[in-house]
Structure formats: structure tokens, C-alpha cells
């Protein structure tokens, strides 16, 4: 037996008449025709029922009011049951202008619909004959439902409950009115009881008319039936169908065209509204070609903000396309980033792009590593190139062994013949000084956060390790090339194959050069760091000028607060001539005071320093290479030796002139006061004078003993220019002279490399002058003497070239002219010995070379 249908779901569960309801449940029949009945709230709604499935029917509610069942009946299952209730509202006319929460069928199916259009048969007059109350005081239908379950206020309903009706409609009606209403109702009922007959009596004419009309209607219907058959609507139906077909023919075309046009218009609208998005892939490509990555990134960000959250497929597609582009760009940028060689600034820019593009890898770190790798490969490359060159060289030298041995000395300065190792070292140094600063800079900006990247915790040590590693590899490679025996025997010699060295003598000559080169290349990157850490490159200055500077700045602050800035109602102080003058004077005093401080620092007989006298007194025979004050200054509470103090003060002096003074002036002018140029000029002259006098006293201190030793040394061991000792080398006095100058260079340089240029030329000049004087005193030269003099003077002239003033040069030349000229044979001898000297004294020459 087929079970009866049961309704278990209603959607929606309430609504006015005409509500479209989805009814769900079980056993609604196997096909549409199985459905034989449907009532909603007691009203038959089968006509509107649409069978969808055995568990689903869609129907439209009828005029049933209040809570009621929805009962489905099927052919085989019979009348069903209902678990859920539908609640019909009072018939409320939902016109086209009224908002409705539910879907209301607009086509009318029912006769009661027509009624509701004309007037209302449901909204009957009040049965009590009372006026209908306003809506202000009303019990809700739910409350009534609760109070009178299963009842209804509908007067036509089976379950009509009078209480409900009264509570619903006459809550505010007075008792008297109700009584009157009752009377009215009774009267009406009475009237109806006897009314049937009397009604007919009074209206007999009309009733007869109606009967006649009905008969006539029946006759007409009969004839029509004969004439048109039993299905009078068939023709009509056909005609309607026909006309519908025609209409379709007429309009389908137009309609489809219109649809298409509409679609196209929509699409165009979308396109133009979101042109930015759709054109982005193209514009990205264009901008990339132009290199405008900034614009690309900007656009990308914008698009991401605008469209990422939208779930529209077209946008998604476009976004995907863009995303693909961006991924491509990222890859491209990254490749660019690690492709060497590349400029650091360019790299920084790339890093910024990549970060902005939300990159998954760490561009900064990659860049650093890329650099390091590149450096390593470059070093390796360099090594291999030279290795190959050496092999070639060896082959060659085997063939021409003799010639190369001969050229040992003469070819030393010929770079073509320079040992491959040395060229290799130079090139390695070049590589390091070219590439290493980049790594350093990049690392610095990475760790200081300049690149706006989060620094990974482990990277700091890793970076340190990288840098150290580079240095270590570099050093070891160099060692392998020039001093392989210093390599660690087991490990390093395997990794860094020792080079075949040329003759050790030859090599030794080049070692200082190599050293100088290496030092230079390393100084470069490190210098950079110093610059950051010490303000300015004025090495050799002490705290003094800086302290002064700071003091002045503080002072300016006070001054500007108390003097320069005039408070309200306080006349500008400086308008007063007197005050102006006074102020100027004070500033002058200030600058002067500092000058005095500097001056007093250098004054010789400073009372607190007795030992100084001892040191200053020139000891002729003192070899300046081992200055006595080194020992003395130890037990002198770290007070620097007087010469050093001189140099320091000199440096301070220069710094004050170049920097402090300018800053002071700036500080004043910033707070609105311009120091009069007179004062500045005066202060500057003072400082210049001071500088000069310090320099003089230092020179005196240094060059006096230096120059003083030349003459005694020259004639040491009873030498004279007319004795006939064949020259083999420079005379000791010349060597001593050179060494002394080197010492001065060292001392000055250790305080401040800047001062070297102001001190050394002066010393050289006095030396040259002294030589000239000495030469002019020589009465007689032997041949050997002539040769020796030529050797000495030209060697000094040559070695001191770098620090020779024009006057020094003149003196040298004059000294040379005093010596009798050489004949051709002697000239070669002299040249030979000079050449030997040059080789022997390479180190010394290097020291005095200008870097």
C-alpha cells in the first residue's frame, strides 16, 4: 500500500493570499497526475499546484485565514497529513506600489480576486452594525491564537469564536454599544428567518425577469452548441496560438538583437569602467620596457587593493594575468639583481622593487651573497688566467733560458717582464678594491635597515663570516702566489696550490710593491668606515677643537635666547650701538681666547714641563731614528712628546681654521647674528700666524739637527772630495739624510697624514739648500770625487722628488752645476751605481713616494 502523503516543510510558512509556497514532504506521488488534491488552510488550491517531485510541490495560497494545514492528496496514498502549519494573513491587497516581503503572484486566478478588485466581499460590514475600529488598539493574532487554539475570528469559518471576534474587532467598544449591536444582530437574524418568503414577494417581478433571462440563456447556449460544437473555445485557442506564433515571428528577431546589443553594451560598460584593470598587463609591459618599475609597482598595488577582494570571474582572470606578469617581473628583477657585475645603487633599487612586490625570497641577502660569489669567481678566474700565463711563460723561458737570466737587473722596471705572480697580485688587489666595497656597503645598508628589510637573525654572523671568508681566501691566494712557504702546510697548500716562484731575489724586489698594493686595496673599504665613525677626515686632531666647537654652540644657544631674540615690548638689544660694539668685542675675545689656548699649548717654556727643554735641545749626533723621548714620555702620564704636541696643535689649528671657524660663524648667523667680517679676518690671520709659527718651530726642531748632521757625516772618516776612492755606492751621509727624512715623514704621518705635505717639502728644501752650500764650499774634486758627488746629489735629487718645492729643485740643480761635468765613460759608471742604489734602496724610495 502506498503511504499517505505527509507535508513536512513550508517555505514560506505564512503570507497573504496569493503567496507562492514551496511545499515539501513525502509521498507526493510518482508523477504530476498522481496529485489529486491540495488544500491550504482549508481552501482548495489544486488549480495552482505545480508538482515538482515526489517530495516537492509549488502552489499559491488561497484566501484561507489564520493558522491552517496544508494537505496533499494523491491517487494511491489518499488524503495526507501535515506536520507544519501555514498562516494566512487577512487579505491585504498588495498593489504594484506596495513593498512586500514575499513573492506575490500578480495574475489573478480566483473569483475572490475579482471580488477584491471591485469591492470586498470578505471585508463584510460589521455584523453588529458598528463602525469598524481603528487599528490603534489591537490584540495580535498570535495572542488570540494562543488564547483560542483552533478557533478563528472569521465569521464564515467553521471554528468561528465569538470571543475572538469581539476581542479582535471590538476591544474598545463600550458595553452599551455592544448591547445595541446585539439588538441589531438579533433583528437581522429575525429578518432573515421570515425573510425568504417576503423577499420573494417583494421582488417577484425581478425574479421572474431573471428566470426568463436564464431560459433565454439556455436556449442560446443550445443553438450555439449546435452551431459551434461542444468545444467553443477550441477555435479561440487556435486563434490565440496562431497570433502568438505570428507575434513571435515579428518580435523574436528584434528581441534577440536587443538582447545582444544590451549584452554588448554591458560588456563595454564593464570594460570602460575597469579599463585600468584590463589594460594593466599591457601597460605593465610598456613600463617595463621603459624601465619604470616604480609605476608598475604602484599600479600593481592599486589593482590589488581594488580588486583582490572581488569575487568576479572576469576580474579574477585579469588579476591572474597581472599576477603572472608580476611573477615574471619578480623573476626578471631577481635575475638582474644577482647578475654581476652590477652597481650597488642599481642593486639597492632592485631590492626596493622586489620588496615592494612582496617578494618571497630575501633580495638583499641574495644580493650580498651574489656579490660574494661573484667576488670568489672573479678571484678564481684571475687565478686561472695567470696560472695559464705562467705555464706559457715557463715554456718560453725554457726555450730562451739565457736571455731571461741576463735581463734580471736591467729588466726589473720593465713591466712586460714583471713576474706573473706580481701581476696576479696587482690584479687581485684591483678585484678586491673594486668589488669588496660593494659588499660592504650593501651589508651596511642591509643591517642598518636602510633597505627596509627585516634582518634575519642569523644573517649578521653569516655576513661577518662571508666577509672574513673573502679576506681569508684573498690572503691565502696571495700568499700562495708570492710567499707560499707561509701557507699552512696541510690544509691550505692543497686548496691553494703554491705557485712556482721565480728567483727569490727577483721576487724579493717586488714584495714591498705587492705589500703596498695590498694595503692600499684594503685601506679603501675600511676608510669608508672610518669616515662614518669619525666625523670628518681630519685625523690627527684632538678633542680640543671639537670641545671648543661644542662650547661655542652652547654659547650661541644662550646668546640667541637671551640677547638676539627680543621679547615682546623689549627693544631689540643690538640696535643699541654700544651694545653692538660690546657684543662684537666679546665674540672677538672668544675667538682670541681659543687662539691663546692653542698658542700656549705650543709655547716652549711651559712651566709644567721641565723635561721638554732637554728633549728640545738639539743633539747633533742623535740618530733621529731612535728618539729619546719615546722612553721619556712613558713616565710622563701619557703626555705626548713635545714634537707630537706641536704636530697635533698644528692639525688642530688647521682644523679650527677650516672647520670650527666656519661652523661658529654659521651657528651665529643661524640665530640671526652675523659676525663682522673684520673679526673673522682677524681671527683667521691670527690662526694663520699661529700655524706658521708652529710649523716653523717644528721645522726648526726637526730640520736643524737633520741638516746639521749632513756636514759632519759627509766628512766622516776623513773623506774629502779630492781623495781617490772609487765610488761603489752612496756615501753614508746621503743615506743618513734619506733615513732621517723618512723618520720625519713617519712621525708627521703618524699624527696626521695631512700635515706631511706642509712639513716635508720644507725639510727637503733646507736639505737641498745645505747641499748646495756644502758643494759650493768644495775646493777640489778628484775624478772619483766627481763621480761620487754626481751619484750622491742626483740620488737625493731623485729620491726627494716627490716633496721638492721649486726652490728645492733649483738648489739641487745649482748643486749639480757646481760639480765638474762627467765624461762619457764616467757617466755609465755613475748610471750603473745609481741603478744599483735604486734597487738596494727600493724600500726607502717607496716610503718617500707620494701615494
Amino acid at each position: 500500500m502506498v503511504p499517505p502523503p505527509v507535508v513536512t516543510g513550508l517555505s514560506p510558512n505564512d503570507g497573504p493570499p496569493g503567496t507562492r509556497i514551496t511545499i515539501r514532504g513525502e509521498n507526493f506521488g510518482a508523477k504530476a497526475t498522481d496529485l489529486v488534491g491540495l488544500t491550504i488552510c482549508g481552501y482548495d488550491c489544486l488549480l495552482t499546484a505545480e508538482w515538482k517531485s515526489p517530495s516537492k510541490i509549488v502552489a499559491i495560497s488561497g484566501p484561507g485565514k489564520g493558522l491552517g494545514d496544508v494537505i496533499v492528496s494523491t491517487k494511491l496514498g489518499g488524503i495526507g497529513t501535515c506536520n507544519v502549519k501555514f498562516k494566512g494573513y487577512k487579505n491585504e491587497n498588495i498593489g504594484p506600489m506596495k513593498d512586500s516581503a514575499v513573492w506575490v503572484e500578480e495574475t489573478s486566478f480566483y473569483p475572490w480576486d475579482r471580488h477584491s478588485l471591485s469591492s470586498s466581499s470578505f471585508q463584510q460590514d460589521d455584523p453588529l452594525g458598528l463602525s469598524v475600529e481603528g487599528t490603534e488598539r489591537k490584540l495580535s493574532e498570535d495572542d488570540l491564537n494562543e488564547k483560542f487554539p483552533n478557533a478563528s475570528g472569521d465569521i464564515t469559518s467553521e471554528n468561528f469564536s465569538a470571543c475572538w471576534f469581539l476581542l479582535e474587532n471590538h476591544l474598545a467598544t463600550s458595553f452599551n454599544d455592544l448591547q445595541a449591536g446585539l439588538l441589531h444582530l438579533k433583528r437581522k437574524v429575525e429578518g432573515q428567518k421570515e425573510g425568504h418568503l417576503s423577499f420573494l414577494k417583494t421582488n417577484v417581478g425581478a425574479v421572474m425577469d431573471q428566470v426568463d433571462t436564464l431560459i433565454l440563456l439556455k436556449e442560446r447556449y443550445g443553438t450555439d452548441l449546435d452551431e459551434f460544437g461542444s468545444e467553443p473555445t477550441l477555435k479561440l485557442e487556435k486563434a490565440i496560438k496562431e497570433s502568438e506564433r505570428e507575434a513571435r515571428k515579428l518580435y523574436d528577431d528584434v528581441l534577440t538583437r536587443r538582447d545582444r546589443a544590451e549584452k554588448t553594451r554591458n560588456a563595454l560598460n564593464v570594460l570602460s569602467r575597469f579599463k585600468f584593470l584590463f589594460c594593466l598587463p599591457c601597460s605593465i609591459e610598456r613600463n617595463i620596457k621603459k624601465g619604470d618599475y616604480d609605476i608598475v609597482i604602484n599600479d600593481y598595488m592599486r589593482v590589488k587593493n581594488l580588486f583582490l577582494k572581488r569575487d568576479i570571474p572576469v576580474f579574477k582572470m585579469a588579476l591572474n594575468e597581472i599576477e603572472r606578469c608580476i611573477v615574471g617581473i619578480k623573476k626578471q628583477l631577481h635575475v638582474k639583481l644577482v647578475k654581476m657585475p652590477i652597481h650597488v645603487d642599481e642593486q639597492k633599487r632592485l631590492i626596493r622593487y622586489l620588496i615592494n612586490l612582496d617578494n618571497s625570497f630575501e633580495p638583499a641577502w641574495d644580493a650580498i651573497n651574489g656579490h660574494a660569489d661573484y667576488l670568489h669567481t672573479r678571484m678564481k678566474q684571475c687565478y686561472e688566467e695567470h696560472k695559464a700565463a705562467i705555464v706559457e711563460d715557463l715554456n718560453k723561458s725554457k726555450n730562451s733560458n739565457l736571455s731571461s737570466k741576463y735581463s734580471k737587473f736591467t729588466a726589473l722596471h720593465d713591466t712586460n717582464q714583471c713576474p706573473q705572480n706580481v701581476i696576479y697580485v696587482e690584479e687581485m688587489c684591483d678585484i678586491i678594491s673594486e668589488l669588496f666595497p660593494d659588499i660592504w656597503k650593501l651589508g651596511q645598508s642591509y643591517f642598518t635597515g636602510e633597505l627596509h628589510v627585516k634582518v634575519e637573525p642569523g644573517h649578521k654572523t653569516a655576513f661577518k663570516h662571508t666577509v672574513l671568508n673573502i679576506m681569508e681566501v684573498f690572503c691565502k691566494r696571495l700568499r700562495a702566489a708570492i710567499i707560499p712557504h707561509t701557507l699552512d702546510k696541510n690544509m691550505d697548500r692543497n686548496t691553494y696550490e703554491a705557485w712556482t716562484l721565480p728567483d727569490i731575489d727577483v721576487m724579493a724586489v717586488y714584495l714591498p710593491d705587492c705589500l703596498r698594493y695590498v694595503r692600499l686595496s684594503l685601506a679603501n673599504p675600511l676608510h669608508e668606515k672610518w669616515k662614518v665613525e669619525i666625523s670628518g677626515s681630519h685625523n690627527g686632531i684632538t678633542d680640543l677643537p671639537l670641545n671648543f666647537e661644542r662650547a661655542v654652540e652652547d654659547l650661541v644657544q644662550v646668546i640667541s635666547e637671551s640677547v638676539l631674540r627680543s621679547e615682546a615690548r623689549e627693544g631689540p638689544l643690538l640696535e643699541n650701538q654700544q651694545a653692538q660694539k660690546e657684543f662684537d668685542k666679546q665674540i672677538e675675545q672668544l675667538l682670541l681666547t681659543f687662539y691663546y689656548v692653542l698658542d700656549s699649548l705650543t709655547s716652549k717654556g711651559s712651566s709644567d714641563d721641565d723635561d721638554d727643554d732637554e728633549i728640545r735641545s738639539p743633539i747633533v749626533s742623535q740618530l733621529i731614528g731612535t728618539p729619546s723621548f719615546v722612553y721619556k714620555s712613558r713616565n710622563h702620564n701619557q703626555k705626548p712628546a713635545w714634537e707630537h704636541r706641536l704636530l697635533m696643535t698644528l692639525a688642530n689649528c688647521q682644523y679650527t681654521m677650516n672647520s670650527v671657524l666656519r661652523k661658529t660663524i654659521e651657528a651665529f648667523s643661524k640665530s640671526g647674528y652675523n659676525i663682522s667680517p673684520n673679526i673673522i679676518r682677524k681671527s683667521r690671520t691670527d690662526l694663520e700666524n699661529l700655524e706658521r709659527s708652529i710649523l716653523e718651530s717644528y721645522l726648526e726642531q726637526k730640520s736643524d739637527p737633520l741638516v746639521g748632521t749632513i756636514e759632519p757625516s759627509m766628512y766622516l772618516g776623513r773623506f774629502d772630495w779630492d781623495t781617490n776612492i772609487t765610488p761603489t755606492d752612496l756615501r753614508p751621509y746621503a743615506k743618513e739624510c734619506i733615513n732621517n727624512l723618512i723618520h720625519v715623514h713617519f712621525e708627521v704621518n703618524s699624527i696626521s697624514s695631512k700635515l706631511v705635505d706642509s712639513v716635508l717639502p720644507q725639510v727637503v728644501q733646507t736639505i737641498a739648500e745645505e747641499l748646495y752650500r756644502l758643494m759650493s764650499c768644495v775646493q777640489k774634486f778628484s775624478t772619483a770625487g766627481i763621480q761620487q758627488a754626481h751619484i750622491d746629489i742626483s740620488a737625493l735629487q731623485e729620491f726627494f722628488q716627490g716633496y721638492s718645492t721649486p726652490r728645492a729643485k733649483d738648489h739641487f740643480k745649482e748643486a749639480m752645476e757646481l760639480i765638474p761635468p762627467l765624461n762619457q765613460k764616467d757617466l755609465t759608471i755613475v748610471e750603473d751605481i745609481l741603478q744599483k742604489c735604486r734597487i738596494k734602496m727600493r724600500l726607502q724610495i717607496l716610503c718617500l713616494q707620494k701615494s
Binding site: 513550508l10 517555505s11 514560506p12 510558512n13 505564512d14 493558522l67 494537505i71 497529513t81 483552533n150
Partner: protein
Amino acid sequence: MAQCGGVRVHQNQFIMSKKPTVQPALHKVIMVGSGGVGKSALTLQFMYDEFVEDYEPTKADSYRKKILLDGEDVQIDILDTAGQEDYAAIRDHYFRSGEGFLCIFSITEDESFQATQEFREQILRVKNDENIPFLLVGNKCDLEDKRKVSFQEASERARQWGVPYVETSAKTREHVDKVFFDLMREIRARKMEENKANNGRGKDRKKKSIKSFLFCYKH
């Protein structure tokens, strides 16, 4: 129960073979949540094993059927309410009749998750009961790739409210039965508790303990 009188007449008429039974317990469940989160989809999946692809905003739908809850015949009454704001005004009225609530949001839409806060507050206000049976449900969990609300975030909120959190999919039927059955168990437990209280026994027992018991039961 009186409302069902009409139904029972028919039942007696056509299912005569059965001896007259006691009407099974009725548990009233209300589906709340923003529009489009899948309240109707969950309900229809639970009721009829079907998944509706089209979105048709609900006003208020009623469903009721007999089910077996832990061996006991019960009736579940589901009121599927409107999520659309247009109907917000009529919610109070519905909530009053609810015995338990499934508060649904879609894990693919953060707004719907945020809205659960409001629903929760409204329910507590209307029911005036902190311990009303209540489940926080994250629907559409089959759309993992579109997820906007993390599991942690949602469970954190559930923890704060002291309610269970379950993720469902009306599409794949995942955990659909679970949420309804879990909620009904809570409602049943709640009713038993109240009965005892009304009978004067076990008055001192705290609701809290029942609550925590339910918790263990579910997880």
C-alpha cells in the same frame, strides 16, 4: 500540543494499525545567520538530502519531521529564518519560540562571521538565558580555498561564548547531521534539567555542570 490536534485526527484515521502513542517530544530549532550563508541549504540537506545551488532568499520557512535521537522518537521543528536585513524586524518574534539555535556563518565571508555577534546578543536578549542551547556553525567548509575566517578565530569566539563550534558543508553534507543532533541533545538535556528543577529535585544542581558535560560529549 493542542495545535497538533488536527493532525492527529488524520493519523488516527489512516494509521490505525498502530496503537495510540504518546506524541513524541518536540524540539524547536531556529536557524539564524546572515543572508546567503546556507541556513536553508543546511536545513534542506538535513531534511531532504538535497542541495540547492540557487540562492533564493528566505522569509521564514517551517519544517518538522520525526527522527530517532539516540533511540528515542522525537520531532524536530526547524524554523529557517531570513538572513536578509529586510526581515530583521520580525526576528525577535521568531526567536521567542526557539528552544535551540544554530547560528550559521559562511567561512568564506568575514562579514557573516562578524554578524554572528549581533545574532548572539539578540538571542540572549530575547531568551534572557545565558545557557540557551546554541551552536556556532561555520558553513561552506568545502570552499576551503575561499576561506576568510580561520578555524582558530571562530573557535576562539565560540570558546568565549561557551558554545561548541562546528564546521559544516551543506554541499558535501559534512557534519550536517551532527549539528542538528548535537543541538537537539542539548535541548533535550536542557529540558530534562528543567523538569527536574520544576519537580523540586536537584534544584541545587548547577546548569554549568550540564553544560560542561555536553561539551565533553561533543568533542
